[in-house]
Amino acid sequence: MTFLSIVSRGLMRRPVRTGLTMIGIAIGIAAVVALVGMSRGFQTSWTNGLKTRGTDIVVSNMGSALTPKPFAATQADKIKSLPHVAAICTLMVDLISVEKADMMIVSARQWGGFSWGNLKIVSGRLPKDEKEKAVVLGQTAADVLKKKVGDTLQLETDELQVVGIVDGGAIVENGSVILSLSLYQEITGNDGKINVIDLRMTPGTTKEEAAELTERINSLVPEAKAVSAGDNIRNSQGYRIINAMSWGTSLLAVLVGVLGVMNTMLMTVFERRQEICILLAVGWRRGRVVRMILWESALLGFLGGIGGVVLGVIGVKILITAPAIKGLLEPDLNAVLLAQAVVISVVVGVISGLYPGWRSSRLMPSQALHG
């Protein structure tokens, strides 16, 4: 019989309570996995979207909202001829409700800009010119909106023709309604306004030169901020709030799990007072008794953590099929996050066992063994 079998026997003596405690911690951990995985997924999806558009630097004003603030399109002219700039493409990116979909990415792109370049036509065609009252839909967007080539799409108050379905190569691209910038400006009455400039650098630009370029842009266009494509979303305050909230919310759920584990371990120590006294009486060191309690609660945390990861992953897989989320993001359930979640759970277990362990170590062997 090994120490671990003693530890697991301790948990097995009350299978229902152990199970319920594990479910408690598992729910907390599942919340971590789901919320953090989703918010990270939002980030990576966005970044991947930029990458497939061939964007190296994004100029936008990521305020506290999820979509950037508009500014004058003329600002783009200041940037165009800076050194190391290969091409720019101005955009208006919005997150609005379109017909039955509550949240849809609308990506209006400068006619002829490079950001059209990555779109592979699945069916139909691209708009004929920038004035044609037409949109193309990413595959997922078409799916969510239930549209095919030839249908009409109501955007704000205008009826536009769906002329093509495209594969944008990234989840955000595929979840977008894509149309010409000037058409969208007209529809929304935002003449001369943009909120994103995609910038492609000349090949062979060094990191230092890129940094210098972003600095120049920032001084030329104070109402927006230039960041490298990878950093773009991470720097947005909106994203930061989402990220903080998902950690905050899920850690709150974990805290509830902590209380559950602590309660269970305390009860265990109380009801096993006599057994702990027996262990001490036959010569177990206090340290070994404390270790037994800590291992028990760590094991409880570990098993709860594994359960939570499974629960979280399944939950996310179900969640992303929901129409409201579909096409907006791809959850980022990487191995590191899942391992982090299990580690959190084990740490939670150990911490919850500290006080009960300390309690058990203060018992005198005679205390429960009189007679």
Binding site: A281, V282, L369
Partner: protein
């Protein structure tokens, strides 16, 4: 070697040993002076509440005395830095209520004290098996305590007390919860350990019949030793 003669070495020496409970409201031991030598079989008798169990618990370091001195083989137990090792290796404790761990089988219960030794896991099991065989329980090793009779439980407890080769056995009314047939068997088992392995035996009992098998009978009342029949020969041949 069947001897009931006390050796010369002093196993326990208590000097003015006192134990109070509840902040002095209960005085369980009121100054006990006592010497117990290697190989002795000491019976402690006395009315309920006279302090017999308390004295035994002091000897087994299951609790701290309130004052006075207690030496084990010449060394103060209070000053010992490692009472756990003392409990694990030197002493075997046998309780009236058996005090087995309910979630472990007989075989596992006997292995519990061996966690404080460097004995390899496989060897622990073999040794526990041998010990259970020695108390006649080889057929019940995988039973949980709840599936064993009182007599069988006490036999497991005896095997456990010997797990790490204790040289001193402390038994607190070991047959108090047993019927006379089982009690006889358990007594024989314990007395044989004392005789055949020269184990020093201190036993609390209220059964004068049992007490007469001892080499020495100590009577207690109100936390004092009121008579000590040291040197009184055993009634058993």
């Amino acid at each position: 070697m069947a001897t009931t003669n006390a050796g010369d070495e002093c196993v326990f020496e208590a000097i003015a040993l006192k134990k109070e409970y509840d902040d002095g409201q209960v005085q369980a031991l009121r100054g006990v002076d006592l010497r117990i030598h290697t190989g002795e079989f000491v019976a402690i008798v006395g009315q309920s509440g006279s302090g017999k169990s308390t004295l035994l618990q002091m000897l087994g370091a299951l609790d701290h005395p309130s004052s006075g001195q207690l030496l084990y083989r010449g060394k103060s137990l209070e000053e010992s830095s490692d009472l756990a090792a003392y409990r694990a290796r030197e002493i075997g404790f046998i309780f009236q209520a058996f005090h087995l761990l309910p979630t472990f089988t007989a075989l596992e219960n006997v292995q519990i004290p061996m966690f404080e030794t460097s004995r390899p896991v496989a060897e622990r099991k073999t040794r526990a098996m041998e010990l259970l065989k020695a108390v006649g329980l080889e057929k019940r090793v995988h039973h949980f305590p709840s599936k064993l009779s009182g007599g069988e439980r006490q036999r497991v407890a005896i095997a456990r007390s010997l797990a790490n080769g204790a040289s001193v056995l402390l038994a607190d009314e070991p047959t108090g919860n047993l019927d006379s047939e089982n009690a006889g068997y358990i007594m024989d088992l314990i007395v044989n350990l004392h005789r055949e392995h020269n184990v020093t035996l201190v036993m609390v009992t209220h059964d004068m019949g049992i007490a007469h098998r001892a080499t020495r009978v100590i009577a207690m009342r109100d936390g004092h030793i009121v008579s000590d029949g040291a040197g009184v020969p055993s009634a058993v041949s």
